[in-house]
Amino acid sequence: MDDLYRENILDHYRYPRHKGHLDAPDIHYHDVNPFCGDEITMEVQLEGDRISAVAFDGKGCAISQASASMLSEAILGMTLDEVKALDKEFILEMLGIPIGPVRLKCALLALKTLKAGAWGVEEWPE
């Protein structure tokens, strides 16, 4: 447990980066975690191929919100192809904490939402 709530997670949870909405997002996608009702909206603005602005909004636990905040920071400047290639391991490394199968869904919600938006599909199937 003390492993789970490392200071950097709590910091992103308390002071989320990029929280809010963009005026004219190129990509805008919303998803929920059916197991707990957590919600995330991811918004991305592109300049050419690269992400030039990002915002997220949502309600949820420290893990899902910190993950969205950290992910938002991480993808700024990435190309859309790079975003499409992000995987579970990327998130786990980013968070740097041990996560069981149920909380994994919280941790991955932001990425799942982002990738569905990037690929333009209804749902990203993990």
């Binding site: 447990m1 009702g37 957590d38 636990c61 919280c106």
Partner: protein, 407 residues
């Protein structure tokens, strides 16, 4: 040894440590733990008796059949069913409710008919009715909930009418803890000519249940919530209703005769039991029922009332904590709460770090959470093996969570 110590010594899992702390298991509403008596009954069955039931002439099959049917009789007695033929084995309460919806519903519902359920139902007593209403064209209606988290009786009396064919409700809410007055609700349903389908998933494990006194038409419950194994549930039904219903699943055991041109169904309860049943699980559930009977359901209910009242009081010591549902005198042994802005997942994770297992989420009852405008709650629930000391650990860990997340 006190009764409680003796009980605890019967549950091997209570010896476990979680994150270096002894396990305080406060999640029995989701699924109970199992006493060794249940595990030993199943193990002994596999080691000495197992064979497929009903058709075998050899000794093992005769013995397995006898044990399997003896288990049915034991379970029938536990709920005071008039006959074991009215006790149908299913996988869980969910399948029991689907069986009624599909089999009774498809034969009896038509456009214009109404199915009435309540806003406090578990998804398992909502979705089957949504599906069957879609298939048959019947209309689904919901009884609303009062601000106190109880059924809105005036609204119920308005909603129940001559078009109502089914009134399906939970005898005890798995979120609010509210114990509904089953006999009274059944009588109301019968007064308008509707059948009463009772979700007993939470009531049967915790309260004395007499299907004849309650006059329920159908009662659904799960083995795993009442000291029994996973993979087994029960549907009780009134004989005339069950006799008149078409079968649900088709296959071995549920037929009398199969010709290429058509089939004739077997008698009750086999008509509804297709394929090789969960034999060991039925025997395990009978051992669980035996265990509960030896304690006495009065003892069970009394123990839970006490510990729930204690937990209710101690939880209300915590600033910003709000418990959903009625007061401790009108509820079962579970308490769902919100604590300020803290997310239930985070609360549960901190509690887990202290060895305290509680559930966080919508507990498969989204409509009632929507009703209160909250996506999720944290739920602590109690059963025969829980202690006041475990409640104290719950409270201490909640203070820790507050300290970590409140800012």
């Amino acid at each position: 040894m006190s009764t409680l110590d003796r009980i605890r010594s019967d549950f091997p899992i209570l010896q476990r440590q979680v994150h270096g702390e002894p396990l305080a298991y406060l999640d029995s509403t989701a699924s109970s733990q199992k006493p060794r008596q249940v595990l030993e009954a199943m193990d002994a069955y596999y080691r000495h008796t197992h064979a497929n039931v009903h058709r075998g002439v050899h000794t093992l099959s005769e013995e397995a059949t006898a044990a399997y049917e003896q288990a049915r009789l034991r379970i029938a007695r536990f709920i005071n069913a008039a006959s074991p033929k009215q006790v149908i084995y299913t996988r869980n309460a969910t399948e029991s409710l689907n069986l009624v919806a599909y089999s009774w519903g498809r034969a009896n519902l038509k456009p214009g008919d109404e199915v009435l359920i309540t806003e406090m139902e578990h998804h398992s007593n909502i979705v089957p009715w949504q599906l069957i209403c879609q298939i048959t064209g019947a209309t689904l209606r919901f009884v609303p909930i009062t601000a106190q988290g109880e059924l809105d009786f005036p609204a119920l009396d308005q909603l129940l009418n001559e078009r109502t064919r089914v009134f399906a409700f939970t005898a005890m809410s798995n979120v609010l803890g509210a114990i509904n007055p089953t006999a009274e609700l059944v009588a109301k349903a019968h007064a308008v000519g509707a059948i009463a389908v009772v979700d007993g998933a939470q009531s049967v494990p915790h309260l004395h249940s007499d299907v004849q006194a309650l006059d329920v038409d159908f009662l659904a419950f799960s083995g795993h919530k009442m000291l029994g194994p996973t993979g087994i549930g029960i549907l009780y039904g009134k004989r005339a209703l069950l006799e008149a219903m078409p079968p649900f699943l088709g296959g071995g055991d549920m037929i009398r005769e199969v010709k290429m041109t058509g089939s004739r169904w077997n008698e009750l309860p086999y008509k509804f039991e297709a394929g090789t049943p969960a034999i060991a699980e039925a025997i395990g559930l009978a051992a669980a029922v035996e265990y509960l009977d030896q304690l006495g359901m009065d003892w069970v209910a009394q123990h839970e009332r006490e510990i729930t009242a204690y937990a209710w009081n101690r939880l209300h010591e915590i600033e910003g904590l709000r418990v959903l549902g009625p007061g401790p005198e009108r509820r079962g042994g579970l308490l769902s709460f919100v604590l300020g802005d803290l997310h239930p997942h985070d609360i549960a994770a901190v509690l887990d770090g202290a060895g305290v297992a509680v559930r966080a989420g919508h507990h498969c009852a989204q409509p009632i959470h929507d009703h209160f405008g909250i996506p999720a709650t944290t739920r602590a629930s109690f059963y025969i093996y829980n202690t006041h000391a475990e409640v104290d650990r719950l409270i201490a860990a909640l203070h820790k969570a507050k300290a970590l997340f409140e800012f």
